[in-house]
């Protein structure tokens, strides 16, 4: 044994004491990353005799900031809408796209209306949870972890990845497109996943020599971040190679427009993120669980044009994405679902906007979907004591539906308990 400098042994207790923090200000993890080496992840997977065998793909679209459900799926006949929203209601109704006698989609959801007509859009109304948090960060974490008690630190997709997929050595199994850091929904200490902000710049400058040197540099890194550093670099190396191949093989079959800067001087980042998702899906990279985010939904002021523009962003990006998948013959495999940390207050404020609310609708989109309305729209005449909508569908029922009906992963293992299925998918159940 030669001399050791720079490193010393860290016992399990010190790990517990120095455990990492999950996200901003959230509870500490039970143990540091370093206490859970990559090999452990493989061991966990190997112990599973029934990992997911199908090639189904899930794309979760986060509408960050709290999407106004009452301007997304508009209750045409609720008489209270005008009382609560004197400025917003009229304009919301003006160009709205009716899907039933009672409900209409936002005027800019034209592609989604097309999906509705084809039976490829499920609208789940009133999705939320009891005792809702009105904090962006707390409610986002609740949706990401699937745990309203805030005890769980790993994301529900991250846990799915760790428990049901062999992500070690296949870093693109789980991927965040258009993000710089790992979204909370995908986080799990025992899973490997890839994060790609800009594909054009996703590669080692200096080529394989640099890549090899860095690969050698990040081996057995000490400290509480050591394993996270090492696996991030290893993942970068592996995914860079996979992306080189996918970029060469990908032929887009749709036009993704991301250049307009309508909302807060921001481009439609969803369009480029979903185009990258389409590339990964259609070129056989083995991608299964994808997460993309569009921000800007925290519409406290001048909501009208802003929210319409955001709806337009979602619609054009999802429309192109589906067209692209369909042209590649992949549409049957892919389920698209939206989520947002909360809806908005039914009553508008002085700024022509709306404050933080509770329940809002979720869209399930694609060929695997059995189109229609699910859940019940909360009544504007029966608000809770904080003047917010009463939820009618637990958000974990949506996860239950996705896990059981699309991915074929046991929801109880992921969510800890069972929730009512929605019945919104063509395939009622997969083996798991």
């Amino acid at each position: 044994m030669t001399e050791e400098i720079g490193i010393n042994r860290l016992d399990r207790r010190s790990f517990l004491r120095s455990g990492l923090v999950f996200g901003a200000g959230a509870a500490a993890l039970a143990a540091g990353y370093a206490a859970v080496p990559d090999a452990f992840a493989r061991a966990v997977y190997a112990a599973k005799t029934n990992g997911v065998q199908n090639d189904h793909v899930l794309v979760m679209i986060q509408l960050a900031g709290g999407n106004d459900g009452l301007r997304t799926v508009i209750p045409l006949t609720d008489p209270k809408l005008h009382d609560l929203r004197p400025k917003l209601a009229g304009m919301s109704l003006a160009g709205a796209l009716p899907i039933t006698a009672e409900f209409a989609l936002n005027q800019n959801l034209k592609n989604l209306k097309g999906f509705w007509d084809q039976g490829k859009l499920a609208v789940v109304q009133g999705v939320g949870y009891s005792q809702p948090s009105f904090s962006h960060f707390e409610s986002t974490r609740i949706w990401e972890t699937g745990d309203p008690s805030l005890r769980q630190v790993n994301g529900w997709l991250g846990r799915t990845l760790a428990q049901h997929y062999d992500s070690a050595g296949h870093p693109l199994t789980g991927c965040a497109c258009g993000a710089t850091d790992t979204p909370g929904a995908l986080r799990d200490l025992q899973a490997t996943m890839t994060v790609i902000s800009d594909q054009k710049k996703y590669g080692f400058t200096g080529g394989s020599e640099v890549e090899a040197a860095v690969g050698a540099l990040y081996q057995g890194t000490p400290g509480i971040y050591g394993a996270l550093f090492d696996s991030s670099i290893a993942t970068a190396g592996e995914s860079v190679n996979a992306l080189r191949t996918s970029a060469a093989n990908y032929q887009p079959q749709a036009t993704y427009t991301d250049q307009e800067q309508l909302v807060y001087a921001s481009k439609n980042q969803l369009a480029s993120a979903l185009q990258l998702a389409a590339e990964l899906i259609t070129t056989g990279t083995g991608v299964r669980l994808l997460h993309v985010t569009l921000g800007g939904f925290d519409t406290h002021y001048t909501e009208l044009t802003r929210h319409d523009d955001l709806m337009g962003y979602v619609d054009s990006a999802v429309g192109a994405f589906y067209q692209d998948l369909a042209a590649h013959g992949m549409a049957d495999k892919v389920l698209i679902a939206t989520w947002s940390e909360f809806g908005r207050r039914p009553k508008e404020n002085a700024s022509g906007g709306t404050d933080h609310g509770s329940a809002s609708p979720v869209f399930l989109i694609g060929s695997p979907v059995k189109g229609g309305l699910y859940g019940a729209a909360p009544s504007l005449a029966d608000l809770d004591p904080t003047n917010n909508l009463k939820y009618t569908v637990d958000f974990r029922s949506v996860y239950q539906e996705i896990l059981a009906g699309h991915l074929g992963a046991d929801p109880k293992e992921i969510l800890g308990e069972s929730f009512d299925r929605l019945g919104a998918l063509q395939q009622p159940a997969l083996a798991y």
Binding site: T2, I7, R17, S18, V21, A34, F229, Y301, N349
Partner: protein
């Protein structure tokens, strides 16, 4: 055979004696860095790494001869070096890219880098982004000047300032709120993110404070300037200007005029001043701010007893930031544990890397500005009202790739490399096995600097 992959055949070169000792130890986890903090020089280096953008050999020598305690005094007592004025675009507005570069340039060259770290700390706490604030006035620029000047004052003054800060009035919508129909945005984040923390107030408190705080408007301009928008067709437009930095103005006719409200347990007539005083009267405020400071400077997970100690001192000092920071830097926790327990943010990584290379010119600034987008930390453009997340959130396949590429690009841009031995100073000569081995095998200073900047050691603070 560790560390040989991909670089086999390179000449084995001796470097500083400290790294010549080959390191062994298990791969992967289970090992922690050996703390060098029993030495005064290492403690001073640790202090400067955590409070500035890293110390040059000369700075470290000076600080070491001053000693740890006097170095703290110097950090806390030296007034901030002011940046050169940012020249407003067209005489009225800002360019987000130019404004970011203006700040990066000052971070790289300021003689008081601690002031820049604290300005960044407050930019991350009382945050605003140019997208919502807009670029057609100097508001977002003013906010930066404000936090630099107030960084080491007291929390009460800062709360008064931030509530009436023109950029914040817009960013969290207080400027358009009315007592009759309040906008809750500022009220909620004032409690959740600026003072108490989630769980220490009710929804009724959010509503009450929203009503009580309403009435502020943006400052009235005292001039205007004509700008040519389209030279060819002669399209011009007038933009408002202010002859000096201004705060919001109170419009009593927009304020709340209803019955007394109950706010945090007390029913009375409230105004902005009273709301802020009531927030400072809550023990949770000192705990929340002290915890955030401890997480930023000391450890990702400070224990409750430590935070309480800091909070008690902070509160009894009248929320004096110098007192709190002195308590933090002199605490046993700061130097006894948590060595390399924090991850540098993207901006901290880039600025400390460029400073280490002695490359602080405009090209270096442009490079950092360009990479900030790939690394998820664009100044004046935080991801949301919570600011940037920290530590492990800075580590993903995407950000690590970007950091490695930044090291490559910064080296390409640097004509005259400092001696590679100085890189070790930035790493305390405490090296993991792989870093030491690769440094030993590196053929030249360019390769050594690359390894140093791309190493895990350099990502940490």
């Amino acid at each position: 055979m560790a560390g040989g992959a991909g670089i086999g055949g390179l000449r084995l070169l001796a470097l500083a004696p400290a790294v010549q000792q080959a390191l062994t130890g298990a791969h992967g986890s289970g090992l922690d860095w050996v703390s060098p903090l029993n030495s005064e020089t290492a403690r001073v280096n640790h202090l400067l790494r955590r409070t500035t953008f890293g110390a040059s050999a000369a700075e470290l020598e000076q600080a070491s001869s001053d000693g740890y305690s006097r170095t703290i005094d110097r950090l806390l007592e030296t007034p901030p070096q002011q940046p050169p004025p940012y020249e407003l675009l067209g005489g009225y507005g800002v360019s987000p890219a130019a404004l970011q570069n203006w700040w990066l340039q000052h971070m790289l060259t300021s003689k008081t880098p601690f002031a820049e770290r604290m300005t960044l700390f407050w930019h991350n706490h009382f945050t605003s982004d140019y997208r919502k604030v807009g670029v057609r006035d100097p508001f977002i620029y003013w906010q930066n000047l404000t936090w630099r000047n107030m960084a080491l004052t007291d929390l009460g003054s800062m709360l008064t300032k931030v509530t009436t800060d023109p950029a914040m009035l817009r960013y969290l919508d207080l400027a358009t709120s009315t007592g009759a129909n309040p906008n809750e945005n500022y009220s909620r984040e004032l409690m959740e993110l600026f003072t108490l923390g989630v769980g220490n107030y009710s929804e009724d408190d959010v509503r009450a404070a929203a009503a009580a705080l309403a009435g502020w408007r943006e400052p009235t301009p005292d001039g205007s300037v004509e700008a040519t928008l389209d030279q060819k067709n002669g399209v011009t437009r007038r933009y408002p200007t202010w002859s000096r930095q201004a705060s919001g103005q109170f419009a009593p006719n927009r304020a709340y005029r209803g019955a007394p409200l109950k706010f945090l347990g007390k029913t009375q007539a409230w105004n902005t001043d009273a709301v802020l005083k009531q927030l400072l009267a809550q023990p949770a405020t000192a705990v929340f701010i002290s915890r955030k400071v401890a997480v930023h400077f000391v450890t990702p997970q400070p224990d409750g007893g430590y935070v309480k100690r800091l909070a008690d001192r902070f509160r009894s000092s009248g929320y004096d930031m110098r007192t709190l920071l002195r308590e933090v830097f002199t605490s046993q926790e700061f130097t006894s544990t948590n060595y390399r327990g924090l991850v540098k943010s993207s901006v901290e990584f880039m600025v400390s890397g460029l400073k280490a290379l002695g490359n602080t010119g405009p090209q270096a600034v442009t490079l950092a500005g360009a990479f900030s987008h790939l690394m998820g930390q664009v100044l004046f453009d935080p991801p949301d009202v919570g600011g940037w997340p920290n530590n492990d959130s800075w580590v993903s396949s995407n950000t690590m790739l970007a950091r490695v590429n930044f090291a490559t690009a910064a080296l390409t841009l640097t004509r005259q490399l400092p001696a590679a031995g100085s890189a070790l100073g930035h790493l305390d000569s405490v090296l993991g096995k792989q870093t030491a081995s690769l440094l030993n095998q590196a053929p030249d200073d360019h390769a050594r600097w690359f390894i140093a900047l791309a190493s895990p050691e350099f990502q940490l603070k």
